[in-house]
C-alpha cells in the first residue's frame, strides 16, 4: 500500500562510508535470542511529560515488568528540551530505550552509530506491521533502528456543523477550484477560511509539504528534502504561487499565532478550516465531547491531477535503543514487547486520570479498528487514500536545515510573499553551505 523512497545519493553513500565502521561496531549482535529473557533492569527515556503519553508509558512499563520482572527506570523530559538536546543525550549517558520519531530523524542518528541495531526485534514482531512501517524504521544501511508506536495524519480539519451551515460536504471539496470556492464562501460569511499560525516556525511546514506533494508529487518532495532537487527549481516557485493564493483567506496575524492560536479560531467557530495534524483532536475532546464529535478531517484537495491526493504527511512516533546505553539487550527486549500486540494492548488499555481511554491510532496491524471513534475512522480514511507517506518536513530533512533555515525562511515569506525568489535562493545557498554529515 505504501512506499517510501530510500534512494541513496552519492552524498549519502559517502556519508555512509565515513560512518560505516561506527555503525557496524554499534550494531553488533548484542541481541541473543528473543523477548522475555531475564535481561536485567533498564532505563526508559520518555520524550513527553504530558498526562496522556505518561499514562500510556506507565501502563506499558507496568505490563513489561509484570511479565519479565525486569525493573524499568523512568526518565521523562519535556519534548522540546529532549529534542534539542538529543545529540548530547545519545553521546553521553542515555537511557537504554527512548522515544523518538521515524524517518530521517532516526536515520540521521543511526548513521552516526548512536542507535543500536534492532533487526532481530523486527525478526520477532515484523509480521505485525505493514511494509511501510518497516521502511520508515530502516536506516540507510538497510538495518532497522526503530520500533513504531503510533501515527497521525495531516489534513484539512473542519467542523461538521459549520460545513452543514455553509452547504458543504467532504465530497464537494476535492480539488483546488472547489477548495478556493469553499474558502471564498467562508470569507463572504465573515469567516477566516484557512486558519494558520506560524509563530513557532514549524507549523507552516505542513502546508508547504502538502502543496508540494500535490503540485509536484511525492518523488519530487522526497528528493527536495534529501537535497537531490534544488530549492530554486521552478517547481518550488509553483508551490509558493499556490500557497500565495491562500493568503487572502488566512487570518492576518499568522506570524503572531502559534498553532493552538489557529486551533482556537476553529474551536470558536471563527474559522472554517485548518490544515493540521490530527493530534489536536485531544484538545477538542478536553473542551467537550460535543466539540470533539463535531470535528472532521478530509485530505488536502487535489491540485495536479497527475498526483491526485496520493500523498499524506503522517508522522510516526516510536522508540529506539541508544547504542551508548548500559543495557542494549534489555532495551531491545523491551521494544520487542512494546511493539508486540501484547504491549500495544497494554498501551491502549491505559486510562487517563478521569478514567477515560486515550485515543491512539497504533502502527500495529493487530489493533481492533472497530473501537475507533468517528474521528479516528476519518483519519484512517485519509491514510488509506494515500499511496505515499511522508513524515513531516522537519522529520524528513536534516535537522540543522529544517528548524534553523526552512522555518525562518517561511516566516519571512509570510512577511513579504513577493520576495519568494530571494527566499528560495537563500534556502538553496544555505543548503549548499551545510557541512557534510560525519
Amino acid at each position: 500500500m505504501l512506499e517510501q523512497n530510500n534512494g541513496i545519493s552519492r552524498r549519502s553513500v559517502l556519508k555512509g562510508a565515513a560512518v560505516g565502521g561506527l555503525g557496524i561496531a554499534a550494531g553488533g549482535s548484542l541481541l541473543a535470542g528473543c523477548a522475555s529473557k531475564a535481561t536485567g533492569p533498564l532505563a526508559y527515556g520518555a520524550r513527553s511529560v504530558d498526562a496522556g503519553p505518561t499514562a500510556q508509558n506507565e501502563a506499558l512499563i507496568a505490563a513489561y515488568t509484570a511479565k519479565t520482572k525486569n525493573e524499568v527506570k523512568y526518565n521523562a523530559t519535556e519534548s522540546n528540551a529532549f529534542q534539542n538536546n538529543l545529540s548530547q543525550y545519545l553521546q553521553g549517558t542515555p537511557d537504554d530505550t527512548f522515544e523518538w520519531m521515524a524517518g530521517y530523524r532516526m536515520q540521521f542518528f543511526a548513521e552516526q552509530g548512536l542507535l543500536a541495531d534492532l533487526t532481530d526485534v523486527w525478526g520477532t514482531i515484523g509480521d505485525q506491521y505493514t511494509d511501510s512501517y518497516k521502511i520508515a524504521s530502516t536506516g540507510l544501511d538497510g538495518k532497522q533502528y526503530f520500533v513504531p508506536k503510533s501515527w497521525y495524519p495531516w489534513g484539512m480539519h473542519f467542523r461538521k456543523s459549520m460545513f452543514k451551515d455553509l452547504g458543504l460536504s467532504a465530497d464537494t471539496v476535492t480539488n483546488w477550484d472547489e477548495f478556493l470556492k469553499m474558502l471564498d464562501g467562508m470569507k463572504k460569511k465573515g469567516l477566516v477560511g484557512f486558519a494558520a499560525g506560524d509563530k513557532g516556525g514549524w507549523e507552516a511546514m505542513g502546508t508547504f509539504d502538502i502543496i508540494n506533494a500535490r503540485v509536484n508529487g511525492y518523488q519530487f518532495h522526497v528528493d527536495l528534502m534529501a537535497g537531490r532537487e534544488k530549492w530554486t527549481d521552478a517547481k518550488v516557485l509553483e508551490v509558493f504561487k499556490h500557497w500565495e493564493m491562500l493568503i487572502p483567506y488566512m487570518n492576518p496575524n499568522v506570524l503572531d499565532l502559534e498553532w493552538d492560536g489557529a486551533m482556537q479560531l476553529l474551536l470558536q467557530k471563527k474559522a472554517g478550516a485548518m490544515l493540521m495534524g490530527s493530534w489536536f483532536g485531544g484538545n477538542f475532546k478536553e473542551q467537550s465531547q460535543a466539540d470533539y464529535d463535531d470535528l472532521s478531517i478530509i485530505p488536502f484537495p487535489e491540485i495536479n491531477p497527475e498526483h491526485g491526493r496520493d500523498t499524506v504527511d503522517a508522522p510516526i512516533d516510536g522508540w529506539c535503543v541508544a547504542a551508548n546505553g548500559t543495557n542494549n539487550a534489555g532495551g531491545a527486549d523491551f521494544l520487542a514487547f512494546a511493539g508486540d500486540m501484547e504491549g500495544v494492548q497494554a498501551t491502549l488499555d491505559a486510562k487517563d486520570k478521569d478514567g477515560k481511554s486515550i485515543p491512539m491510532t497504533s502502527a500495529n496491524k493487530g489493533q481492533d479498528r472497530s473501537t475507533y471513534d468517528a474521528f479516528q475512522k476519518e483519519q484512517m480514511a485519509v491514510m488509506d487514500e494515500a499511496k505515499y507517506i511522508t513524515q513531516f518536513l522537519d522529520r524528513d530533512t536534516r535537522p540543522d536545515f529544517a528548524g534553523p533555515v526552512v522555518g525562518p525562511a517561511i516566516q519571512s515569506w509570510f512577511k513579504n510573499p513577493k520576495d519568494v525568489n530571494k527566499i528560495v535562493d537563500s534556502l538553496q545557498a544555505q543548503w549548499d553551505a551545510l557541512p557534510p554529515l560525519a
Binding site: 521523562a76 523530559t77 519535556e78 519534548s79 522540546n80 528540551a81 538536546n85 553521553g92 482556537q264 489536536f280
Partner: protein, 298 residues
C-alpha cells in the same frame, strides 16, 4: 527692600520651575514603572484564569472564572520539592566555591606584585566574555571523555557536580574582577602591617582580608545566587536525567509537546520566581550595592 522682593520672586519662580520638573519626572518614572510592572501583573492575571476559558473565548475575553487552580496543578506537576532541592544542591556549592576561589585569586593579584599579575587578572576577566553556547560542546566532550577514562560515566556528566564546576568556572571571572577592584580600595598599609607582624600568606588572606571583604562577598553572593538559580542552559546540556535538573527545567514540564497551557505556565513561573524575589527583598541593600560593585575604581 526691592532687592529682597526680587530675590523672593526669583526663588518662588525657581521653586515653581522645580516643581514642574519634579512632576514631569514623576510622571515619566510612573510610565516606566507601569511598563515594567505590566508583564508581572499580566503573568499574575493569566495565572488565575483557567486555560479552558481562554481557549474557548480568547485571551482578552472577560473571565468566567478566576481561581488558584493553576497554582495547585503547577505544584503537583512540577514536582517542586525535588527540583528545588536540585537547584539548592547546585546553587549553594557553586556560589560558595566561586566566592572562595574568586577571593583567592583576587587576593593574590591585587596584594602581591609579580610579573604576571595583571595578565592573570585579564585572563580571568576575559574568560567571562566567552558565550556559554560557544564552549558547551568541548566541555561536554571533556566530561564524557573523563567519565570514560576513569570508568564512571556519570562522574561529571549528568551529575550535580559537573554543573557546579562549570558554574564556578564561568562565574569566577566576574567574581575575581569585582573582588580585586574592591580589594584595591582597602589601604595597602593594613596588609603591610600584617606582614610586618609576621602573618603568613594564608593568615593574611583569612584573618585580615577576608573579614574586610565581607560586604563585597555578601553582594556578590546575592548576585551569583540569582544568576545560577536562573540558569537553564548548562543543566540542560550537561545532564541527561531530568529528575536531576534544577527548577528552571521543571518549568518545562508544564509545557506540553503540542499544547502549551500558558495559564498553567504563568502560575509555574510565578512559583519559580518566588525564591529570587524573597532573596531580593531580604537582601535588597546588598543587591543594590552589588550592582554598583566595581563600577567605581578606588
Amino acid at each position: 527692600m526691592s532687592i529682597d522682593i526680587e530675590l523672593q520672586k526669583s526663588a518662588t519662580k525657581y521653586r515653581n520651575k522645580q516643581k514642574v520638573k519634579d512632576r514631569f519626572i514623576s510622571a515619566l518614572i510612573g510610565v516606566f514603572a507601569i511598563i515594567w510592572i505590566f508583564p508581572i501583573v499580566w503573568t499574575f492575571w493569566t495565572s488565575l484564569r483557567p486555560y479552558k476559558d481562554v481557549r474557548a473565548n480568547g485571551v482578552f475575553s472577560i473571565p468566567k472564572a478566576l481561581n488558584l487552580q493553576n497554582y495547585f496543578d503547577a505544584i503537583s506537576r512540577m514536582d517542586l520539592p525535588l527540583y528545588f532541592w536540585n537547584t539548592f544542591a547546585i546553587t549553594v556549592p557553586a556560589v560558595f566555591l566561586t566566592l572562595f576561589f574568586g577571593s583567592l585569586i583576587a587576593f593574590v593579584v591585587s596584594r602581591y606584585s609579580f610579573k604576571w599579575n595583571v595578565t592573570l587578572l585579564l585572563l580571568f576577566t576575559a574568560g567571562n566574555l566567552l558565550p556559554a553556547q560557544l564552549v558547551f560542546i568541548p566541555v561536554f566532550k571533556m566530561y564524557i571523555t573523563l567519565g570514560k577514562a576513569i570508568g564512571i560515566p556519570r562522574v561529571l556528566y549528568d551529575s550535580h557536580w559537573g554543573v557546579v564546576l562549570i558554574h564556578v568556572a564561568f562565574q569566577m571571572g566576574f567574581a575575581t574582577f569585582v573582588l580585586s577592584s574592591y580589594m584595591k580600595t582597602i589601604p595597602k598599609e593594613i596588609s603591610e602591617s600584617a606582614m610586618v607582624d609576621g602573618a603568613t600568606v594564608f593568615t593574611h588572606y583569612s584573618k585580615v582580608m577576608l573579614p574586610l571583604l565581607r560586604p563585597a562577598l555578601a553582594s556578590l553572593a546575592v548576585l551569583m545566587t540569582t544568576w545560577i538559580y536562573n540558569d537553564f542552559f548548562w543543566a540542560l546540556v550537561l545532564m541527561s536525567t531530568d529528575s536531576k535538573r534544577p527548577i528552571t527545567s521543571a518549568l518545562g514540564r508544564l509545557q506540553g509537546e503540542f499544547v502549551t497551557d500558558y495559564n498553567l505556565l504563568a502560575a509555574g513561573a510565578a512559583i519559580a520566581a518566588l525564591p529570587t524575589l524573597i532573596v531580593f527583598f531580604l537582601l535588597r541593600k546588598q543587591f543594590v550595592s552589588g550592582l554598583t560593585l566595581g563600577s567605581t575604581k578606588g
